[in-house]
């Protein structure tokens, strides 16, 4: 009986320790995180990449979509597997048709992509911190080796910018862009602003490059601009500072770093009249 009692005590102590350790681990993490928050993020970053999308300049050519697929190994599964694949074909950037819910309004094109929010819900909900904001430039990224494929980030994103990798890329690896890792099955995926490129050195994301090239060919103005929003020599910084830009779902206050110009019909008309 004495042995039994001792065993029980030991067992319960062990159980208590496990439970206490279980409770303490997240608590200690919280402490570490709050300490980091109070020291690290209080300093304003000098580099914060941002994009502006001028809808008045977008002609819906979808060159950005195409360039993104080629650069980042984002497969067009619908093209390979047919109509059923439409439901799971990934897009890092897509050009949607938008029409205001008012009579007499025209249909317009709008490129939609990850908004690289400064206060991103996807990062907050990520179970394993696989989604994170890169400290040095504010780009929201996914560590696909850490993602467990729980899809919480996909649910939490207010912009439908994320999805899960439903199916392997049918394109052989040696035909893909070797500078970008192949998409990993079962994990979350989204736009990286082409983080593998030398963005600090002046390289542009593939979609921006493609847009600017296309607009040069058709003698139009580029719809996509990219740069450091904290450097006032850069066009994006000036556009944002001018205050003419709009955020998508601004009421959610997730601080997107993709800004839109010419969202409303009135602005578009004004742009047309004034050139």
């Amino acid at each position: 009986m004495a042995n039994d009692s001792m065993d029980r005590r030991t067992f319960l102590k062990l159980g208590g320790l496990i439970a206490a350790a279980g409770a303490a681990m997240p608590a200690s993490q919280l402490l570490v995180t709050s300490t980091m928050a109070s020291t690290g993020t209080s300093t304003k970053k000098s580099l914060q990449f941002a994009m502006t999308v001028n809808l008045n300049n977008c002609d819906g050519c979808k060159e950005c979509e195409k360039a993104c697929r080629e650069e980042n190994n984002v497969p067009d599964l619908q093209a390979t597997y047919g109509e059923d694949a439409a439901r799971y074909t990934p897009y890092w950037i897509r050009v949607a048709k938008m029409k205001q819910d008012l009579p007499g309004t025209e249909e317009r094109d709008i490129p939609l992509l990850c908004q690289h929010c400064s206060d991103p819900p996807c990062v907050h909900v990520c179970v394993t911190k696989a989604s994170f904001v890169r400290e040095r430039d504010g780009i929201v990224l996914i560590d696909e080796h850490r993602c467990i494929g729980c899809r919480y980030c996909v649910i939490a994103c207010p912009f439908r910018a994320r999805t899960i990798v439903f199916r392997d890329n049918p394109m052989p690896r040696d035909e893909q862009n070797s500078k970008v890792p192949a998409m990993m099955l079962g994990v979350a995926t989204k736009c990286t602003f082409c983080a593998h490129k030398d963005l600090e050195g002046g390289e542009m994301p593939a979609c921006v490059d493609a847009c600017q090239k296309h607009m040069k060919e058709v003698k139009g103005k580029p719809a996509l601009e990219f740069g450091n929003r904290n450097d006032h020599n850069e066009k994006v910084a000036r556009q944002i500072a001018d205050g003419e830009v709009q955020e998508l779902r601004a009421n959610l206050e997730v601080k997107p770093n993709v800004y839109y110009l010419g969202l409303s019909k009135q602005e578009a008309l004004l742009e047309k009249v004034l050139g």
């Binding site: 279980g22 409770a23 997240p26 993490q29 897009y91 850490r146 912009f159």
Partner: protein
């Protein structure tokens, strides 16, 4: 005197082995289906870029909820000092742990990378409720096992301590699960502060309902008498909880209906004439709430076990409907990326994308339910969970009661005697 002898079931009958074999086969099917889905990808499922939390999440929240009701029945004896429930306490506590195991099975087998099962335990994000819940769920299961162990040892002090801890953990578990959805402000259908409370109450009511059905069937098939007064009392508790669920669900949906931001989604569910409309009105309100409440109020039916069990089954079906409404329409509905604008794109923006589970998912879902069945059948055979008789009287302490000399007794410590083991 109350008969308090707990025993294992013999589990030698053909029907026991048949049930075990069927469950084991379905569990194997679940593992194989999960492996195939893991290796080939989610495209084999009915999920889409819009609906990524599918039937697996419905089962997950259903099971988390069912665990709560079982724990409540178990806790009636040890925490709320309703000693007459002590005969049901062990099996109810076991059910509670069992449903949580089923819930975690559903959760993890739904991951894109179930091979990374241990990552959430050392890559912790304290801001993520799902990350914190990983610890809460494990703590809950650990506490539940310790609670059960204390009951096997007939240690009243530790039973009370662990039982109380289990109830506190259950509140965290069930509120936390509700919050996983309730905090998502990017999707109108999810964002709500009532969700966690409604989740907890529906969990208690449906858990109590299913526990009653399971206890009835288990006592019946192991040929053990069970006093009908348990059902009469539990049905009163269940009725109170059901009315509360009715109230919370109704005010939540009505509030959303008044709010212009939520209105579209609520109209889609309530008046859209789609699958969810059927689930909402027929499965949830009519089958799950109105009819069972009527049965338990009606003097002609409220005292009859058959009717009480029918009401219980209907309520569990109704709460399954509530879980479907809880998880799916928020994703099926087009997401308002740009309120005031109509959107169309190759990425299916601006469309409501229906979700229909495919064969591989049905195999997985059947397997998860079978996992519950298998754990239950093995638990009854391996652990002294079942009382010889379920008599509704306050027990008399009988620490000096001589235990029967059986081989089984040694393996379970000082459990009070073993019955001759009714066959299942």
């Amino acid at each position: 005197m109350a008969n308090y002898y707990f025993s294992r079931i013999e589990g030698k009958s053909g029907s026991y082995w048949a049930a075990t074999a069927i469950c084991a086969g379905l569990v194997l099917g679940w593992l194989v289906a999960t492996l195939i889905r893991f290796l080939k990808g989610y495209y084999l499922t009915g999920m889409s870029n819009s609906v990524t939390w599918a039937g697996d999440k419905v089962i997950f929240v259903l099971f988390v909820g069912l665990s709560a009701g079982s724990l409540m029945i178990s806790g009636l004896a040890v925490i709320f000092k309703q000693k007459e429930y002590k005969v049901l306490s062990r099996v109810a506590a076991f059910n509670s742990v069992m449903f949580m195991i089923g819930a975690l099975g559903a959760l993890i087998s739904g991951w894109g990378r179930p091979d990374r099962i241990f990552l959430p335990f050392y890559m912790i994000n304290p801001r993520s409720l799902l990350s914190l819940n990983a610890f809460i769920y494990m703590s809950y299961i650990t506490i539940g096992i310790l609670y059960l162990w204390a009951q096997f040892k007939e240690n009243d002090r530790w039973t009370t301590v662990m039982g109380s801890a289990a109830v506190i953990a259950a509140v965290f578990v069930h509120s936390g699960t509700g919050f996983i959805f309730g905090i998502i402000n990017g999707r109108d259908m999810y964002f709500s502060s009532i969700t966690p409370l409604a989740f907890v109450i529906a969990a208690l009511s449906s858990g109590t309902a299913l526990a009653m059905v399971m206890l009835h069937l288990t006592f019946k098939y192991t040929k053990r008498p069970l006093d009908q007064r348990f059902f009469l009392q539990l049905s009163k508790i269940m009725l109170g909880l059901m009315i509360f669920v009715f109230y919370l669900v109704t005010i939540e949906h009505l509030t959303h209906l008044y709010d212009p931001e939520f209105q579209y989604g609520e109209k889609f569910v309530m008046f859209g004439g789609n699958f969810f409309t059927f689930v909402f009105w027929i499965q949830l309100y009519l089958v799950g709430l109105i009819i069972p409440i009527f049965i338990l109020f009606n003097p002609k039916t409220k005292g009859r076990i058959g009717w009480i069990l029918a009401a219980s089954v209907m309520h569990v079906i109704g709460v399954l409907g509530e879980r479907i409404i809880f998880v799916l329409p928020g994703q099926v509905l087009k997401q308002p990326i740009m309120p005031g604008y109509e959107l169309t794109s190759g990425f299916q923006d601006g469309m409501n994308i229906m979700y229909i589970p495919r064969l591989i998912e049905w195999i997985q879902y059947a397997g998860i339910f079978a996992l519950i069945g298998l754990v239950y059948l093995l638990g009854l055979k391996l652990l002294p969970l079942m009382p010889r008789e379920g008599i509704f009287v306050k027990p008399v302490h009988h620490e000096e009661e001589p235990a029967e000399e059986t081989g089984e007794e040694e393996s379970v410590g000082n459990v009070e005697g073993m019955a001759e083991g009714a066959g299942a």
